[in-house]
């Protein structure tokens, strides 16, 4: 029972970090129809900025600067895509993001090297004991921060002018344009928001019990992709639920590794994908996806 509770808490913490990544991924897809394969390296970039700056300016300012620069970089990718390749197909833009990913990750890998960069976060390796349950403070913090940030995101999505523009433009770009909504601006903001969310996720991915930020952090972020797809790719709520499902699955598979050893070592790594495939077999459009994923 203790182990189960701890595992669930770990799963929720992981899921909340995945949600930050998956939401950004989905927002970009909704706004511009592009699968952003550079999302992992954007995340790494934001985390890298935070890791480099926290000594000089303190943890929270470093996180804010990391988020701002990641937002700016994401916005730059979007501007490059729409200004530079005006009129290009969505598929071309998707492939462009792969190119951006290669460039960015190569450069970042060189910068990071073989080190683990610390984030300078205040939680360190502290743990909190509630009765006989032990949880890392960093995980509690990640759940708390994710609840606040994701709550703010959904509130903005639901009530703000940007949120409404975003939902309208995703539902029918032409009809939205006819309302005077500026599609390129909506897209730009979507990319920036996604970049900032990814940078925030990097902080928690690198926090305890992870040893720090390293070049594999962007690969861990890949686990958020099945979360987005599981949720239906174009649904923010779906991304959130999908992330929690994937987070819990990954934590369970890792926590009960010994019991699951019949399924082979490394089962916990493939478990998220397994869940994704199983869900897609039953519901090809994902949990909350709209009927078709192709967009005009």
């Amino acid at each position: 029972m203790i182990k189960l509770t701890e595992t669930v808490l770990n799963g929720l913490a992981l899921g909340s970090v995945y949600a930050l990544i998956a939401l950004g991924f989905v927002v970009i897809f909704k706004a511009s129809g592009v699968m952003n394969f550079a999302h992992g390296s954007l995340l790494l970039f934001g985390g890298y900025v935070t890791a480099r700056l926290h000594d000089a300016i303190g943890f929270i300012p470093a996180v804010l600067v990391g988020a701002a620069l990641a937002a700016a970089l994401a916005g730059l990718v979007q501007l490059l895509a729409t200004r530079g390749l005006r009129g290009a197909e969505i598929h071309t833009l998707t492939i462009l993001t792969i190119g951006v990913d290669v460039l960015l990750s190569t450069e970042l890998n060189r910068q990071v090297g073989a080190d683990y960069l610390t984030m300078g976060d205040p939680w360190g390796a502290d743990v909190t004991r509630l009765g006989s349950i032990t949880v890392a403070d960093a995980r509690i913090a990640s759940i708390a921060v994710a609840i606040i940030v994701i709550g703010a995101f959904f509130a903005a999505f639901r009530w703000s002018r940007w949120g409404l523009s975003m939902r309208s433009a995703a539902a029918d770009p032409e009809a939205a344009a006819l309302m005077g909504i500026r599609l390129d601006r909506v897209r730009l903001i979507a990319w920036c928001v996604a970049g900032a969310l990814a940078a925030l996720a990097a902080v928690f991915l690198a926090a305890f019990p992870a040893p720090g930020l390293d070049r594999t952090t962007s690969q861990i972020a890949l686990s958020a992709f099945p979360a987005a797809i599981l949720g239906g790719m174009d649904s923010a709520v779906g991304a959130l639920i999908g992330s929690l499902v994937i987070g819990l699955t990954a934590a369970m598979a890792a926590g009960y590794q010994n019991e699951l050893s019949v399924l082979g070592a490394g089962f916990s790594d493939v478990a998220p994908y397994l869940v994704m495939v199983l869900v897609l077999l039953v519901r090809p459009t994902g949990l909350f996806g709209s009927k078709e994923l192709t967009r005009v």
């Binding site: 009129g87 409404l164 939902r167 006819l178």
Partner: protein, 301 residues
């Protein structure tokens, strides 16, 4: 139809005439991609406060004309190759948000409401393009639309996609009215609606116009459009074939045969009770066997 003008001439003209609230389309050439030429020199004027109709069969270029005015051609990979669009003396150059800001709002073909959004959110979206950000003005605009379309007030929290076709058309028009347009572009508002609902929409168009909004009405339902409008143009393969006062066009043999005649054939001369009202004007017009296409040229220009 006025002869093709250069941009400079068109520009000069806007300074001479009082253009307040007038839409002036001059010698418009539009193509999609490199190969499809959709409009070949279309000119058209919508004076302030008037209803002008554009008729034409499938593929004539009616929607293309509206896209050129509303600035959404780029979304279809279309480009204006030649010609100009002016509203209120201001050149509209293919930016949708600027057209809306200038007071020109289009209701697209097929309604295109945001089906997953609530009725209220659809209306809020219609307000996004207006310069105002004030909540009070948003509420005032919404109350105006609710007064015009009481059914929308009843369904305000419902997902828009669950409404009937006629209600969706009303929502599409209400959404456009949220931006308080000076000129409303309507692309086939009667499409797919039962005759009674077509009548209802026609009444609404007249009401909107009576409140001071000019209307450019694109229709395949020629009877309805000619009854509503002051003047009309007939588009055919990207060119204006006929132009004139709507009453004259309704009486013209060519128009009757091409655009009103089909109704009689399918209705076997005895349209059902709901259907005949819309066609009353056409039916009561005297049958003239006079002017053909070329002679109708006297209405041009």
């Amino acid at each position: 139809m006025s002869p093709p003008e250069t941009e400079a001439e068109a520009e000069a003209e806007t300074q001479v005439e009082t253009e307040a609230g007038t839409l002036r389309v001059c010698d418009l050439h539009v193509s999609y991609g490199r190969s499809v030429q959709a409009l070949h020199g279309v000119s058209l004027t919508v004076p302030q406060g008037r209803i002008v109709a554009v008729l034409g069969s499938n593929g004539a270029g009616k929607s293309t004309l509206l896209r050129a005015v509303s600035g959404t051609l780029a979304l279809h990979r279309g480009t204006v190759e030649r010609g100009t669009v002016h509203f209120d003396g201001v050149r509209l150059s293919g930016d949708a948000a600027r057209s809306v800001a200038a007071g020109v709002v289009q209701v697209p073909e097929g309604r295109r409401i945001f089906g997953a959004l609530s009725v209220e959110d659809n209306l809020r979206a219609g307000f996004l393009g207006s310069a105002s950000r004030s909540r009070a003005e948003l509420r005032a605009a919404r109350e105006r639309v609710f007064a015009q379309f009481p059914v929308l007030a009843e369904r305000r929290r419902q997902a828009a996609g669950l409404m009937s076709g006629g209600e969706q058309q009303m929502l599409a028009m209400g959404r456009a009215l949220m931006a308080a347009p000076r000129l409303l572009l309507l692309d086939e508002p009667s499409l797919g609606l039962a005759p009674l609902m077509v009548q209802r929409i026609a009444e609404i168009i007249r009401e909107i116009n009576a409140q001071g909004t000019s209307i450019l009405l694109v229709e395949q339902n020629a009877a309805m459009a000619l009854e509503l409008s002051d003047r009309a143009s007939v588009l055919d393969v990207g060119q204006v074939r006929l132009e004139g006062a709507s009453a004259d066009l309704a009486a013209a043999d060519e128009v009757r045969r091409l655009y009103l005649g089909e109704t009689y054939e399918t209705g076997c001369g005895a349209p059902d009770a709901d259907g005949d009202a819309a066609y009353a004007t056409a039916a009561s017009a005297p049958s003239v066997t006079g002017p053909g296409l070329t002679e109708l040229g006297r209405w041009n220009g």
